[in-house]
Amino acid sequence: MRTLLLKSLFARPVTIKAPGADDGGLEELGRALAARGRRLFGRSITIREVDAGSCNGCELEIHALSNSVYDVERFGLRFAASPRHADVLLVTGPVTHNMKVALERTYAATPDPKWVVAVGDCGCGCGVFEGSYAVIGAVDKVIPVDLHIRGCPPRPIDLLRGLIALIDKAAAKAS
């Protein structure tokens, strides 16, 4: 293990570097996010993820936000285990009838001020599950949604871009 740690110590970081100014790079996005987030929440924004019926595709990509390549924590974004610690609910769908009550209770347990982000084509609309007896559909049919991030599933970079848009919206609301 020592060799490995030593190697890591001298290795270059794997985290994505800031690409050119015009191709909307990750670090650039992250910096913008941190600046706006700081104005609102001090230094950090805490996110609680809720799967309200997804196929797990969105969860895989949300998970990727925390790996060393995207490393969202460097921007002050972190995932919490409880809605009581969260500023933002990141909800994937389609919301199933069987998850409706759990989603409502999770929303109720999140302290104000709070924002809800619907993630994925199913969370934003209903995706391929439209018309089923078992789904309610988009997240905004159950709880108010502040931002939609589409994609099936959205790429991690799209998720980050979406979170910046949310901070913009929140800042506009606050001022």
């Binding site: 019926g53 196929c55 797990n56 069987n98």
Partner: protein, 509 residues
């Protein structure tokens, strides 16, 4: 073959005539008496239950009856019911409860008559059967099994879990720190997939099947495509077949990498998690470059693949894999050299060989407990036919063995992908789907990273999907997780759970 080594169920079916246009394996319409005889034989270990599902007015079972080919049997429902298979063969119990919930066909004399996927939230009873209006119930209203004893307490967990994972409810009954019983309650992400796969066109059905479980999207699409092709008696072009293999193995590599890291992370060993996360990301980025989607969703379609591999796709994949291999071996060596980590994984979450064999548990769950089955080899389909790859087999049955199966599979899959890409056949990647003049049925099994997935379907004469059933590997793994955690401490549940990594969505449908 002598009478001695013939499969008892194959012997029962020998005197029956198979229905027409069911491929590649045969389907038999049976009476209630034969159905029951087969159920008894299943309970005696005569065959593996591959799946059990409902349709309008009928129930179906798919069986693996070695040395004979697998088969499907069907029974017309009489007086709203059918003889329970679960009373002889417990792996059928949850599947039967599902048939009762969705179609209203009651399994007669079933040992467990509680609703399973129906949480009383649909305002409908038997949504794919009689569709009778029903008042909504309190979702908490569920009769968990009683546990008696001194000093026991319960820990309810979920449906919303602490991590970024799918929802489900776990009811632990513990004595101090030791788990006396875990009972699962699933069905929270039930999206009505069986209904969405009834009377629908082929392209829409393929998109729904791809989203039965996002982490196995390639394997699911693969099975769906093979089932359609079997029904029509066609095969995908050679180039498409190899590209399917590349996608399926990349999906396996990516998922296993993620899970090995996650298991170690649940033992608070974050270093391996960090490295595996980087490796996984490399594989997803290469998949994106080659096939235009990080998870390769909708990449495999009936007749072949949706798009040819990108011009520089093969190079990107090989570069990513070559980059990963030596570093992955360093991580494996680290796992081997860290007793404090193995202290958590070894002898934790033991699953007995008898259980994996009875439940016919696929994937790492089966192969870590000595069940020598891999559908790529044992129900071989292209491009795996005649490939001669090693299937890892361990007998310890613990978290460590499940991690080791995954490590070995990553190595084997990397070799496979590189070999295929080095000799990729030229030619078209999509064969036309012919027009049939009659209804046809097809079935296929493919090996997802967590085990075998099954797709059965009936196509109408005009090529629409009349009915399609998807069975994820998780169906026969979730019940074993309840056994794995017994007598372990509560704190080891995340390790056990992650070493299985069952799908909620793939199970809840």
């Amino acid at each position: 073959m002598t009478a001695m080594d013939a499969n008892p169920i194959a012997v029962i079916l020998e005197r029956l005539e198979a229905v027409a246009f069911h491929a590649p394996w045969r389907r038999f319409d049976v009476d209630a008496q034969t159905w029951t005889a087969i159920a008894k034989s299943l309970g005696d270990g005569g065959a593996d239950l591959l799946s059990l599902w409902g349709d309008a007015g009928a129930v179906y079972m798919a069986l693996r009856t070695p040395p004979a080919d697998p088969c499907v049997i069907s029974l017309a429902v009489t007086e709203g019911g059918f003889p329970s298979v679960g009373r002889f063969h417990p792996p059928a119990i949850r599947l039967e409860r599902t048939v009762a919930d969705l179609y209203g066909h009651r399994p007669a004399d079933a040992p467990d008559q509680r609703a399973w996927l129906d949480h009383g939230q649909w305002a409908l009873r038997a949504p794919l059967g009689a569709r009778t209006p029903a008042p909504r119930r309190d979702p908490v209203d569920y009769g968990f099994l009683a546990v008696h004893g001194h000093g026991l307490h319960q820990i309810p967990v979920g449906p919303v879990h602490a991590g970024i994972i799918e929802p489900g409810h776990f009811r632990f009954t513990a004595n101090g720190e030791t788990v006396a019983r875990l009972e699962e309650r699933l069905g929270y992400v039930h999206k009505g997939i069986d209904g969405l796969l009834t009377d629908v066109d082929l392209a829409k059905a393929a998109r729904v099947v791809a989203r039965v479980s996002g982490d196995s999207t390639v394997a699911l699409n693969f099975a769906f495509a093979c089932a359609v092709e079997a029904a029509h008696g066609i095969s995908a072009p050679p180039r498409a077949t190899v590209l399917r293999g590349v996608m399926a193995e990349l999906e396996r590599i990516a998922n296993h990498l993620g899970d090995i890291g996650a298991v170690c992370n649940d033992a608070a060993f974050a270093l391996i998690h960090a490295h595996c996360g980087i490796f996984r990301e490399r594989v997803l980025a290469a998949s994106d470059r080659a096939f235009g989607h990080r998870l390769m969703m909708d990449g495999i379609v009936p007749g072949g693949v949706a798009h040819d591999i990108a011009a520089d796709g093969g190079t990107a994949i090989v570069a990513a894999l070559d980059d990963i291999v030596p570093r992955f071996e360093e991580i494996v060596a680290l796992y081997d050299d860290t007793p404090s980590l193995q202290d958590r994984t070894c002898a934790t979450g033991f699953v007995a060989p008898d259980l994996v064999n009875r439940w016919a548990a696929g994937g790492h769950v089966g192969r870590a407990s000595g069940r020598n089955f891999d559908s790529r080899r044992d129900l071989a389909y292209p491009p795996y036919r005649g490939l001669g790859f090693a299937v890892p087999l361990y007998t310890a049955g613990d978290v460590d063995a499940r991690v080791r199966v995954r490590i070995d599979e990553i190595r084997a899959s990397i070799r496979m992908v590189k070999d295929w890409l080095a000799a990729l056949p030229d030619g078209p990647v999509l064969a036309p789907i012919p027009q049939a003049s009659e209804a046809r049925e097809g079935i296929a099994v493919t090996e997802a990273f967590r085990g075998d997935v099954l797709v059965w379907l009936r196509l109408t004469a005009n090529g629409k999907v009349a009915r399609c059933h998807v069975r994820d590997a998780s169906w026969f793994q979730w019940p074993l997780l309840e056994a794995a955690i017994e007598n372990n401490i509560v704190a080891d549940f995340p390790l056990c759970n992650k070493s299985f990594n069952c799908s909620y969505s793939g199970h809840d449908l």
